[in-house]
Symmetry: C2
Subunit: 241 residues, 2 copies
């Protein structure tokens, strides 16, 4: 079996192509595709780590597909086949960061409804805040491409996490009436992304981003929370004295 | 007296320089400076109208200080002395638009508290929506310069209008507790400007800007409004069914 995988690798089969290779034994097909996926996953992780290293050292201008391939120890052709182009690399970098965030949150002890959403945003800020020199230019560049809105699957998963949390809050009777939790969840996420984008572009500094974002989140939540949750939310951001 | 003014004009005295000319009779100084201000105001209006014409016809790339001077019928040196640089022209264009908006709102019949703030935002959208081909590139360009945040005096005046309206709402007992109306007013304005900036940069379309902005405003207001105002606000944007 391992020789089959090796042969496939030698042929440079793409993951999609590989999965299409017919096999009489469905188990063999599954194992082979898993092995290939693992390898792709490792390559991807190495490439994305290299993105961070290069941008931290030389800024975003220093990030070329050639330099990235060299640093990650992969062929330039592999980069293009996995990420399409440099923009695709940046989108993957951001998606990967949000992915990591999701995993970390899953490993945290469960908080109550609403507090889970707050923890998610704190985690997001910590992820980005830890390496602002990398995230800032990357987020600014991604924006001119596909945009933070189109963080696609990962963005959707974060919105889903928030929506699940809001649904729990609804089940616990924390809202004034039946809410469109999906719409509210999406708004909370998008609103924060807008302000983050302004930080990435240098319109506001990191502290302003944090203050404005927290204000937006707490006011949006307070709009539908019953007391004492509403009052706590509004008071926490200093709108009520 | 008129000859004095004309001589000052011939000398090309700046408004600031002119006001510094000492006079024994304070009334003469006042009249002279008013005459000069009127003329500057006319020049300014002509220049800003020309900005709109040029950007509508040739896009923002077509807007050069030379072409602008030609179109407005003023000397290039006058442009530089009044606006510092091209960025200064763009900031003045935006400020002027917001100025006009303020005047229009002053002429409207008085609405109740909160509704006045809503009318202000509707007016803003109408101002920009009427000539999106001009506003969009201008707002996008201004951002990379001093930023919408620094709309300075005009931005402050709009925030003050909102704050006055919120103070009336507070006096009418529409809020759940004593609010920091200044902070809330600033947040309402800034939040909308953020989303507007994203539209200017092409991240979202006009309808998305409208929907997101209205959602942000209504949720922020609902956070502190008592019922039935709170419920009306949240229901109007479809968060509560």
């Amino acid at each position: 079996m391992s020789s089959l995988i090796e042969r496939a690798r030698d042929r440079g089969a793409s993951a999609v192509g590989w999965r299409e290779v017919p096999s009489d034994d469905p188990m063999i097909g599954q194992d082979m595709s898993r092995g290939w996926d693992d390898r792709q996953e490792r390559t991807r992780a190495e490439v994305l780590a290299a993105v961070g290293d290069i941008v931290a050292a030389d800024g975003l201008d220093g990030l070329t597909m050639r330099k990235l391939a060299e640093r990650a120890g992969v062929a330039v052709a592999t980069l293009y086949s996995q990420f399409d182009d440099r923009d695709g690399v940046l989108v993957a970098f951001v998606s990967n960061g949000l992915d990591q965030l999701e995993k970390e949150l899953d490993e945290q002890p469960a908080a109550g409804p609403i507090d889970t959403t707050r923890a998610l945003f704190v985690g997001l800020d910590q992820t980005i805040g830890a390496t602002v020199d990398v995230w800032r230019p990357v987020l600014a560049a991604v924006k001119s491409g596909p945009g933070i809105d189109s963080m696609g699957a990962v963005g959707d998963r974060i919105v889903n996490s928030i929506e699940n949390d809001l649904a729990k809050a609804a089940a616990d009777g924390m809202f004034i009436a039946e809410c469109d939790t999906g719409r509210l969840a999406r708004h909370l996420f998008m609103q924060r992304m807008h302000i983050l984008e302004r930080w990435a572009h240098g319109s506001i500094d990191w502290d302003q981003y944090r203050t404005m974002s927290d204000l937006s989140v707490e006011l949006s939540l307070a709009a539908v929370l019953i007391d004492p949750y509403r009052e706590q939310a509004v008071r926490s951001v200093g709108i009520i004295r």
